[in-house]
């Protein structure tokens, strides 16, 4: 399946005491805050590209 989005610079974000709560990624040239929710289209596409080996998500700082 062809990638629907051009995704780069994906990184998990951790805030406060929380574990990974989101992914910050550049999608089609725009920096977006993507929630970890399978119903979210951006998150679903990120995970599909990860599973396809096309994308790696960096750990949170």
């Amino acid at each position: 399946m062809e990638n629907e989005m051009n995704i780069t610079d994906a990184q998990y974000m951790r805030y406060d005491e929380d574990s990974n709560v989101s992914i910050i990624a550049t999608i089609d040239g725009q920096v977006l805050g993507v929630p970890i929710n399978p119903e979210n289209t951006h998150y679903a596409e990120i995970m599909r590209q990860v599973e396809a080996g096309d994308l790696t998500i960096a750990d949170a700082d």
């Binding site: 989005m5 005491e17 089609d28 805050g33 119903e39 979210n40 289209t41």
Partner: protein
């Protein structure tokens, strides 16, 4: 004895009260006849069919190089590494009969001979739960669906509308065609598709049906066999029948409006909705908040640590799911006399119409301190729950 009233100049008058309920047999008036003559409410399954909503660009023109929503609820796609490019714009001049707005797609970079799966197309993607009126999967009661729309373009020929159902153990597709017969002329088209009954359409917030208007495509999508009934998804079968190439030259265009998908085999008159209904329909998927006219404190927040600030915004309607956050400029936290940029903002949680956000700042005056979240200048942020 059957009686046929066949006056050559019509019927002068039926006497008042002369036709009672008992005089009309149970099957004398069929639903088809009613559909053809009575305006029924909420028939259009598509949202923004009248092309009135354009939250992201207003009436401005945007040339897209990636797949994205520009006019609300219409995803303009590029696929197969196509070189073709188009400008997208919502307009209101030279409009179709009975419509206030229309959508225009104009070729800005030509691709005279698309190869492989190089293609450009527009998607209307519909939630499974919004397809309940079709009752697909219940063959005793399931209904066909009829698509109708107004279209105008300078490239005559045959175009494809591709229907795709990403549900069940096997995703299925169907291909239908229509023709633009006369150049630069508004034409009304209708297409009817049968129900898909081999699986019960789920009832959730995921995509249940794509209605895809194809504008240019390579032979990688046209060299197979046309699926005129629901069949397995296959690249070579997808757009079989498409002979028109809207990307054959720059300046080529199509304009569309009055797009309607409804239960049944009859295309009824377009269901006009009020502007507040258009807003509600579209803001379920995208909510643009513009801060215009200078500085504005639009939400109270608090520092949950010295470097994290949380705040909430309320959306007009419940969104489809937890949205993605985007911004045209960073918001700032007004705290203890300082303005601190908020970066790496994301949506922490979403419930009904309350969206909780979190971001990172430079050190604040202290954990649990309150702050106002501000934006300055004419900037905006967006919440995106599109399909």
């Amino acid at each position: 004895m059957a009686v046929v009233i066949n006056g050559t100049t019509g019927i002068d008058k039926v006497q008042d009260g002369s036709i009672g309920t008992a005089d009309i047999a149970a099957d004398a008036i069929t639903p088809t006849e009613i559909d053809n003559s009575v305006l029924l409410g909420r028939r259009n399954i598509l949202r923004n069919g009248g092309m009135r909503m354009s939250q992201r660009n207003g009436s401005g023109s945007v040339t897209h190089s990636t797949s994205a929503y520009h006019i609300d609820r219409i995803k303009a796609n590029v696929a197969g590494s196509t070189a073709s490019r188009y400008s997208i714009q919502r307009l209101s001049t030279n409009r179709a009969p009975g419509h206030a707005h229309y959508y225009r797609r104009e070729c800005t970079t030509a691709e005279a001979t698309p190869s492989g799966t190089q293609s450009s197309f527009d998607d209307h993607r519909i939630e499974t739960q919004d397809l309940s009126s079709l009752q697909w999967g219940f063959s005793a009661v399931s209904k066909s669906a009829t698509l109708s729309f107004w279209i105008k373009g300078n490239v005559t020929g045959t175009y494809v509308v591709w229907f795709y159902t990403p549900v069940g153990t096997e995703f299925k597709m169907m291909t239908k065609t229509y023709t633009i017969d006369a150049a630069d002329t508004w034409e009304y088209k209708t297409i009817t598709i049968p129900p898909r009954d081999d699986t019960i359409m789920p009832n959730n917030v995921q995509s249940g049906l794509y209605v895809r208007f194809v504008w240019n495509t390579g032979t990688g999508n046209t060299s197979g066999t046309q699926n005129t009934t629901w069949g397995a998804d296959s690249n070579v079968n997808r757009y079989v029948g498409q002979t028109a190439n809207l990307a054959s030259a720059t300046g080529n265009y199509i304009e569309m409006t009055g797009t309607q998908l409804e239960a049944g085999t009859v295309a009824t008159e377009f269901e006009h909705r009020t502007m507040d209904q258009y807003n509600f329909d579209c803001m379920r998927y995208y909510y643009d908040v513009a801060v215009e006219g200078g500085r504005c404190a639009f939400a109270p927040g608090y520092f949950s640590s010295t470097t994290s600030i949380r705040w909430s915004v309320f959306t007009v309607v419940p969104m489809r799911t937890t949205p993605t956050y985007s911004e045209s400029a960073v918001p700032r936290a007004a705290d203890a006399g300082s303005l601190r940029n908020i970066t790496s903002t994301t949506v922490l949680g979403f419930d009904r119409n309350m969206c909780n956000l979190i971001g990172v700042t430079s050190n604040s005056s202290g954990s649990n301190h309150s702050a106002n979240v501000t934006m300055s200048g004419d900037v905006s942020f967006g919440l995106d729950a599109e399909l």
